[in-house]
């Protein structure tokens, strides 16, 4: 087909969709690009939504990947506030909510994920909120002021970041977590304890091992009932209990879906005309040797770049060590790798320090790393993990030995 006659349609104008559209143009794709997004905003990054935007430190525009004019200037037809409701794979056509239909030669699905909803009696109360998009962040922010009692259900990243932002705005914050430590699914317990201390020192009432069973809403206050018979009073509730991928459109179209749209390392779905990238995918990662679904800035950014290049004719897979960061108060925590468990640990600096790095080892090979206020180690840590080579744990633990030097040795040897 004549390249300039080709039409790429992108469904989902969040982080991955926006990055993919821009990358297609930067790579020289000359055909038509249409970008469809449910939200009224141009493509943007989400990390500030639970941090700077929620705390009120930045305007909404600061989250945009590019100014709105960029899309028209680069012949990207952008439809904000428009939702795709069906894909006809035989006709290669996407139907929008407003009834329009768009024909595509290639389709990219970047529909992201949505906040998992509480399924509890009373959870449908209008002051039980979630945090995924700009509208959520602005709505929550309205409530966060001095004197307001905010209850956060779930001490995962979103819950903890929101708790930190709520403290910054002067709200009284209680965090309720069903597990024994925060972040139990993604970090070793030492890190969970470190973060628990951090929040307590900043005035958060953090309660772990607490299961909420129901929410009762009166006019001006909410009561959260706990499994052990207690109640927690709050003016506002934020539930941060995870996210689920927006796969329904793909599923209804008959694409292979299993906790995410299944793709290979090139972003190809089970239909050769359809690609996917970002939170919505469970993609094959060649470095890990398995399929994985990620919810992280790096994956939204770099998988989208890689997949867009493949769509434009390239042949490089997306193969990176997963990487995630969170910022809470004055703490920056970063995680590389996606270990199924944090087994044997090697520490560089102790958990008592304000700044340290640690590695998870499997058979003498570093498979994951955490930096606490120590981001200068992160690039080298990711390199070491990507090499998949055994390394002397004594040297890895020795803060006199630069991690960057170890990474160079590992690359050479």
């Amino acid at each position: 087909m004549n390249e300039t006659a080709r039409h790429i349609v992108i469904v989902g104008a969040g982080h991955a969709g926006g990055v993919a559209a821009a990358t297609l143009r930067q790579t020289g794709f000359a055909g038509a690009i249409t970008l469809i997004g449910s939200e009224p905003y141009p493509p943007h990054e989400r990390p500030p939504l639970s941090k700077e935007l929620l705390a009120g430190a930045i305007p909404v525009e600061k989250t945009y990947l590019r100014p709105l004019a960029f899309y028209a200037d680069n012949r990207i037809v952008f439809h904000p506030g428009e939702t795709a409701v069906a894909i006809d794979r035989t006709a290669q056509r996407v139907t929008l909510k407003n009834g329009d239909a768009l024909s595509y030669d290639t389709l990219l699905l970047t529909m992201g994920a949505r906040a998992r909803r509480l399924s509890l009696p009373g959870a449908d109360h209008p002051r039980v909120l979630y945090l995924r998009d700009i509208a959520d962040s602005l709505a929550l922010r309205e409530h966060l002021k001095p004197g307001v009692r905010a209850a956060v259900i779930g001490a995962g990243f979103i819950g903890l970041e929101a708790a930190a932002a709520a403290r910054k705005r002067g709200a009284a914050v209680t965090v309720l977590e069903v597990q024994r430590e925060p972040l139990q699914r993604v970090c070793p317990p030492e890190i969970g304890c470190f973060m628990a201390d951090l929040h307590r020192r900043n005035g958060v009432e953090l309660r772990t091992g607490v299961r909420i069973t129901a929410i009762a809403g009166a006019d001006d206050a909410l009561a959260l009932y706990t499994a052990d018979g207690g109640t927690v009073a709050a003016d506002i509730v934020l539930a941060g209990i995870g996210a689920q991928p927006n796969v329904e459109l793909a599923q209804a179209a008959g694409l292979a879906v299993d906790n995410g749209i299944l793709t290979d390392e090139f972003g190809r779905t089970s239909d050769p005309h359809i690609f996917a990238a970002g939170d919505v995918t469970r993609h094959f990662n060649p470095l890990l040797g398995r399929k994985i679904r990620l919810e992280a800035w790096q994956n939204a950014q770099n998988q989208a770049i890689a997949v867009a290049k493949v769509m434009a004719g390239g042949n490089q897979p997306y193969a990176e060590v997963p990487w995630f960061w969170t910022d809470q108060y004055d703490v920056n925590l970063q995680i590389a790798g996606a270990p199924e468990r944090w087994g044997e640990l090697v520490w560089r600096g102790g958990v008592d320090n304000k700044a340290f790095t640690l590695f998870a080892m499997e058979g003498g090979i570093p498979v994951a790393a955490i930096t606490m206020n120590n981001g200068r180690d992160m690039r080298a840590a990711r390199e070491l993990i990507a090499r998949r080579r055994a390394i002397d744990p004594a040297r890895l633990a020795d803060t006199q030995v630069k991690l960057q030097d170890l990474a160079k040795e590992s690359a050479g040897g």
């Binding site: 950014q301 920056n332 960057q404």
Partner: protein, 105 residues
Amino acid sequence: MADENWVTVAKRSAISPGDVLGVTLGEREFALYDLDGELYATDNLCTHAFALLSQGWLDGEVIECPLHGGRFEVKTGKVLCPPVTEDLKTYKVRLVGDDVQIQLD
């Protein structure tokens, strides 16, 4: 004009090749770099969020932000990768005896 606004920010001996040093001047923070014996200066605050580049990783002639991995060319302040989008301000540097001076605008 060209010779105005030079301020001393550090001793030459405080920084050695391959190092980055954070210095404070009133409310402002600068980063000094020693690239193979040659000195350079930039703002110390990353243009993305709140991070001190002097706590980052100096990789040859590139400074990497410790918070989210944004990278800048030390000599020009040019952005090299997301999430940073805004270039970093650079300053002229000179040596007066053992004093490192930078030129403010």
